[in-house]
């Protein structure tokens, strides 16, 4: 495990060849990480893989995360491993959401009148997304997709359907359905996806995991041979593990509550 100074050395060495490729290092709880901008991630990974003395040849995991209130919002993590020395290093590619700021407001129906504060970045494409999908808070509209039926069946705003959500970021930032272009997996101009270079040719193991990240977070991996949804049905709308996507499901109704207060869950 490279420690703090070791990481600084790695950072300096990478930046000598590729200036600005590594933004920051982090050493926390015995875990080493390099923070890189999204567009430079291939250089850094290639350097870490091929440089003698580093040789992090095994990509043990690739996953994405959504740090919603923070900016940049998304990150793709590459857990690299040197099998000889058993050293792990995490490369964290920061990935701003091109649809933000005001990303949360995108889910609101036009004219809903409840635009949270913080909205107001002029982002190309955001408006198109708004007009095409405006269910969000109202919750009363009939769902358009065949798959939406199940998850929206409870009705009501997402904030209400997760009453335990008090301390995590989405609740305090408000609500809102994520709106994605319903048709295409690639950007077709309706709303920009965050984009990052695919590393499938460097690490073939990234194939499924990049598809997973695309499916759950809507992160487009440029150059991926076969970027389709991994888990969700092909015609599913939205990227469910984004923090502003409602968790779905429905509240539990106990029969004993029913006679006293019919429809209390609504």
């Amino acid at each position: 495990m490279p420690d703090g100074p070791g990481l600084e050395l790695i950072m300096a060495e990478v930046n000598r060849g590729n200036p600005g490729a590594v933004l920051d290092t982090g050493y926390d709880r015995e875990q080493a990480s390099l923070v890189v901008p999204a567009e430079r991630v291939r250089e850094v990974l290639e350097w870490l893989r091929d440089t003698p003395g580093q040789e992090y040849t095994f990509l043990s995991s690739l996953h994405a995360a959504d740090y919603l209130p923070a900016e940049p919002r998304f990150a793709v993590h590459y857990e690299l491993l040197n099998r000889e020395r058993y050293e792990r290093i995490r490369v964290k590619a920061l990935l701003p959401d091109p649809a933000s700021p005001g990303d949360v407001a995108v889910g609101l129906a036009p004219g809903n009148g409840k635009v949270p504060t913080g909205a107001g970045g002029e982002v190309p494409g955001t408006g198109a997304g708004e007009s095409r999908h405006g269910s969000g808070l109202t919750g009363g509209e009939p769902s358009e997709g065949s798959w939406r039926g199940g998850e929206e069946g409870s009705g009501g705003a997402p904030g209400e359907s997760r009453p335990t959500e008090s301390s995590s970021p989405p609740a305090e930032n408000g609500e809102g359905r994520p709106t994605e272009p319903s048709s295409s997996p690639q950007t077709n101009g309706t709303r920009p996806f965050p984009e990052i270079d695919s590393v499938v040719d460097l690490f073939p193991t990234a194939d499924f995991q990049e598809r997973e990240a695309y499916d759950f977070f809507g992160i487009v991996f440029r150059g991926h041979p076969d970027l389709r949804r991994m888990f969700m049905p092909e015609d599913y709308v939205g990227h469910p593990q984004r923090r502003d996507f409602p968790i779905g499901g429905e509240p539990v109704i106990f029969t004993r509550d029913e006679p006293a207060d019919p429809g209390w869950w609504k």
Binding site: E151, G153, G249
Partner: protein, 236 residues
Amino acid sequence: MEIERIKVTPETPLEQPSSPEEFRARQLKARDMLRGDLEGADLDAYVEERVMTTTLEKVLNVARANSIFPATFGLACCAIEMMSTVSPRYDIARFGAEAFRASPRQADLLILSGRVSIKMAPVVRRIYDQMLEPKWSISMGACSSSGGMFANYAVVQGADRFMPVDVHVPGCPPRPEALIYGFNKLQRMIMGHPDPGWRARYNATGTEEWARGGAGSKPSPEAVEAYRKAREALGA
């Protein structure tokens, strides 16, 4: 006439006639049996004692209930427990259901063993539709009964949203014994004797009525009848 079956064991050898008279008596008895001279009420009594009449439907149901072919259809964790019902310790073969069929067209019981995701629900429905009548289904475990702990975007909140379910087996996952118990309930349903739940068994419904009060207020005829029956039962 009674035809007795004597079990021959070393301890009780077949009883030999002790005398020529007894042998003769036995011969006559046997001839009597073959004569067929019973008439009228005797014949009725004879038939009533020995023949059970029923409808073909009931016989079929008894046969169906005791030779169920479940579909080999596992979804998630419960599938492992479903597999262990076939294993020697639990042995669902005791109830005639050990032959799992891979094709839905040969199966007549669908055990929904595990969580049904929105991607799987159409598939499950199609498999259910492919099964031939008569068919039954057991929803095994909390997830397929109600969505269970997974109240989220991916899981169908209860399999009876998209297909009929006969028996729900609770548990996460249910023990194999629980599945067999649910299976036995299903068998009784098939045979036409559905197991009433404890509510029905103890008639656990409210016996009170709402009254307006005042001069014109009278109990309903049902209430009067129930009161009379209860008094009778008490012997009052």
